[in-house]
């Protein structure tokens, strides 16, 4: 039996600018994210990845189309309504980590828990567990300025996971990392995606991340031009691991 998607995007069109400067950044995107899967979205610069990610993340509203997050439609929602959806159902991992520099690792995670309404009494424990789970239990009091890129991204992942949102959206999570740290971060996201209550979408240029994905979506010029699922793994290279055609 097919599992209900945690994110459903149908007919997403986004027009930016107006008049002579009008640009159709997205030209009718259909995309579902199902629980227990890590989906990679790849495409050249200017293909609309970031715009699509902003819409899927309820940061921007589509010009046309429908978006459902964990069963909640975003149609007609204003900025506060979208913020509500983000807060409750979406976790973000950013390319530049975007940690609050004046807070320690554990305080950054507690901030996310605070936003999501976790009780004051529970926040320290939940934050500690989240950091321990990403291998940073020994660095909870470190400030971001004292952390490596890999550590910062793991804190960001812990923050994204705090409060157990249904959808994790990662924007170029390995772009600022070296190879080793990049692998660690992708391995972590891959583990996260195995949770049957969660779907993960990673937007990336990095072909080294292919081996971690369950599904690959290619976007070009505002359209999805290819979708493929991973075959059984043994003996195949990362690229060969994906079968073509629709999902």
């Amino acid at each position: 039996m097919a599992t209900a998607p945690l994110l459903e995007a149908n007919g997403i069109i986004k027009v930016l600018g107006s008049g002579a400067a009008e640009v159709r950044a997205l030209k009718g995107i259909n995309l579902d994210l199902v629980p227990g899967e890590l989906t990679l979205m790849m495409g050249p610069s200017g293909s609309g990845k970031t715009t699509l990610l902003s819409i899927l993340g309820c940061i921007l509203s589509p010009t046309e189309g429908h978006l459902n997050i964990a069963g909640h439609s975003t149609e007609g929602l204003g900025p506060e309504g979208l913020a509500d959806i983000r807060r409750q159902h979406i976790g973000f991992v950013f390319q530049a980590y975007n940690l609050v520099p004046t807070l320690t690792a554990i305080e950054n995670v507690m901030l996310a828990l605070d936003l999501r309404g976790a009780s004051l009494a529970d926040q320290p424990d939940l934050a500690y567990k989240a950091l321990k789970a990403v291998g940073l239990g020994h660095r909870i009091h470190a400030a971001p300025s004292k952390m490596s890129g890999g550590e910062k991204q793991r804190v960001a992942i812990a923050r994204a996971l705090a409060g157990s949102p249904s959808v994790i959206l990662a924007d170029e999570p390995t772009a600022a990392l070296d190879s080793e740290n990049g692998k660690q971060v992708m391995a972590l996201l891959s583990e996260v995606a195995k949770d049957k209550s969660r779907a993960v979408l990673v937007v990336t240029h990095d072909h080294r991340t292919l081996s971690y994905a369950d599904r690959l979506v290619r976007i070009e010029d505002g359209r999805i031009v290819g979708r493929s699922r991973r075959r059984l793994k043994s003996g195949h290279t990362a690229d060969e691991g994906f079968a073509g055609g629709s999902h």
Binding site: T50, L53, S54, G57, I59, L60, P79, E80, A83, D84, I85, R86, R87, Q88, F92, F94, Q95, A96, N98, V100, P101, T102, L103, I106, E107, M110, L111, A112, L113, D114, L115, R116, L120, A121, D122, Q123, P124, D125, L126, Y128, K129, A130, K132, A133, V134, G135, I140, H141, I157, A158, L161, A162, S164, D171, Q184, L188, E191, V192, K194, R198
Partner: protein, 404 residues
């Protein structure tokens, strides 16, 4: 690395305390505001300097205003009358004329009046023991030694003022009057007087020293008739309605003004603080202090918000409501207000202490009410200053977090 997703769920177990993470008592929004505020110490210093300047400026101006009001009304307040009968359109205590001379009898025969005491006030020439001349304000009283005036007698006594040609002067005016101690002699309008009592702290707003004596002495020095007085202090009988008595007295004495203690205080204040422009200058100084404080705090809060714009965009992207983010800024503003207020008040109290202990001419007071007003003003000022920063943050585009 262990499986993180399942590890996120489940109950809080208290493990964090074992790793030095204290229990949370306040939401993270407070911590974030606190950390933003103290992150840039130079900016915080500038903010605090602005608030301290504002608090001190306003407290000094208001303190002088309050002190001046107290000083202006010191004799009126200590006289403890309920009604005053004064010459028509008298503007202030220090601007006296003479009543007709038959008022006291009319007052005492009015129902509801318990007592009436005369007071004769006039500017006089004081010849110092050394021969020099200066101006003094004589205050002749008919209720010595049992009345409330003069007060704070440090040497001698009220009874001693009743000695022939006895006068009471304040120690702070010794130099001006050319006297040094109890028993020194001088002249008022050609009459020899002896200092038989010395007070401490009775100052006049006009800087002309008050000289207290019996009304008989004062009449003699001023060549006034035995019935003449400048003012009559009236006390109301128990159970009588003050306004009713006032109306009766006013009806009986159309050639005088019959006013309450409060009305006389207000006339005094209006004459000296607003009639001369001194009050307007103090109010302008107060307003300037407030404006400078708002401008400095607004500028530093706005600058701090701009410095942390990326964090606010991230918070927005994470789903923080506009109210949550505004709270961060407002808490920063209130924290700044509290810190700046405390520092400003310490400095203000120090200044008040300095002025008091050096017996400065400048009347500056600090009262709990004024301190409370200053606190509310400081918080209000900082919250108002935060509006610019809030407007900046409201317009944040959370999509800015997807930087390239």
């Amino acid at each position: 690395m262990t499986m993180p997703a399942a590890a996120m769920k489940g109950q809080a177990t208290g493990a964090s305390e074992a790793h030095g993470v204290p229990k949370r008592r306040l939401p993270m929004v407070h911590k974030l505001a606190y950390k933003n505020l103290f992150h840039d110490r130079l900016s915080l210093l500038v903010t605090l300097v602005g608030i301290v300047f504002s608090v001190v400026a306003v407290s000094v101006q208001k303190g002088i205003f309050q002190g001046t009001k107290l000083l202006l009304n010191s004799v009126i307040d200590h006289a403890e009358a309920e009604l005053w009968v004064v010459p028509l359109e008298t503007k202030s205590f220090d601007d006296p004329y003479l009543l007709n001379g038959r008022e006291k009898q009319a007052i005492l025969s009015t129902p509801g009046v318990a007592s009436a005491n005369e007071m004769l006030v006039s500017f006089v020439n004081w010849r110092k023991p050394s021969g020099g001349l200066t101006v003094a304000a004589i205050v002749g009283l008919d209720d010595l030694p049992n009345g409330k005036l003069p007060w704070d007698i440090e040497e001698g006594s009220a009874k001693a003022i009743m000695a022939p040609n006895g006068v009471a002067v304040d120690a702070v005016y010794f130099e001006e009057l050319g006297v040094k101690k109890l028993g020194d002699r001088a002249e008022i309008n050609g009459f020899a007087v002896t200092v038989t009592a010395v007070t401490r702290g009775i100052r006049s707003f006009t800087t002309v020293p008050y000289v207290f004596t019996t009304i008989a002495n004062a009449r003699a020095m001023l060549d006034a008739s035995p019935e003449q007085a400048s003012f009559i202090r009236v006390k109301i009988a128990d159970g009588a309605d003050i306004e009713e008595v006032r109306k009766r007295l006013a009806f009986r004495m159309p050639q005088a003004d019959v006013i309450t203690q409060e009305q006389y205080r207000d006339r005094n204040i209006n004459r000296w603080l607003f009639g001369t422009g001194a009050g307007v200058a103090l109010i302008a100084g107060t307003a300037l202090g407030i404006i400078v404080g708002i401008v400095i705090v607004a500028q530093t809060l706005y600058s701090s918000t701009k410095d942390h714009l990326n964090e606010f965009a991230t918070l927005r992207a994470l789903g923080a409501s506009a109210g949550y983010i505004n709270r961060v800024i407002l808490i920063q503003a209130v924290l700044s207000a509290v810190l700046g207020y405390l520092m400003g008040m310490v400095l203000s109290l120090f200044l008040v202490w300095v002025f008091k202990t050096t017996e400065s001419e400048l009347p500056i007071v600090m009262t709990p009410g004024l301190a409370g007003f200053l606190f509310a003003l400081t918080v209000g000022m900082c919250v108002l200053a935060a509006i610019g920063a809030i407007f900046k943050v409201i317009r944040i585009d959370p999509a800015a977090v997807f930087s390239r």
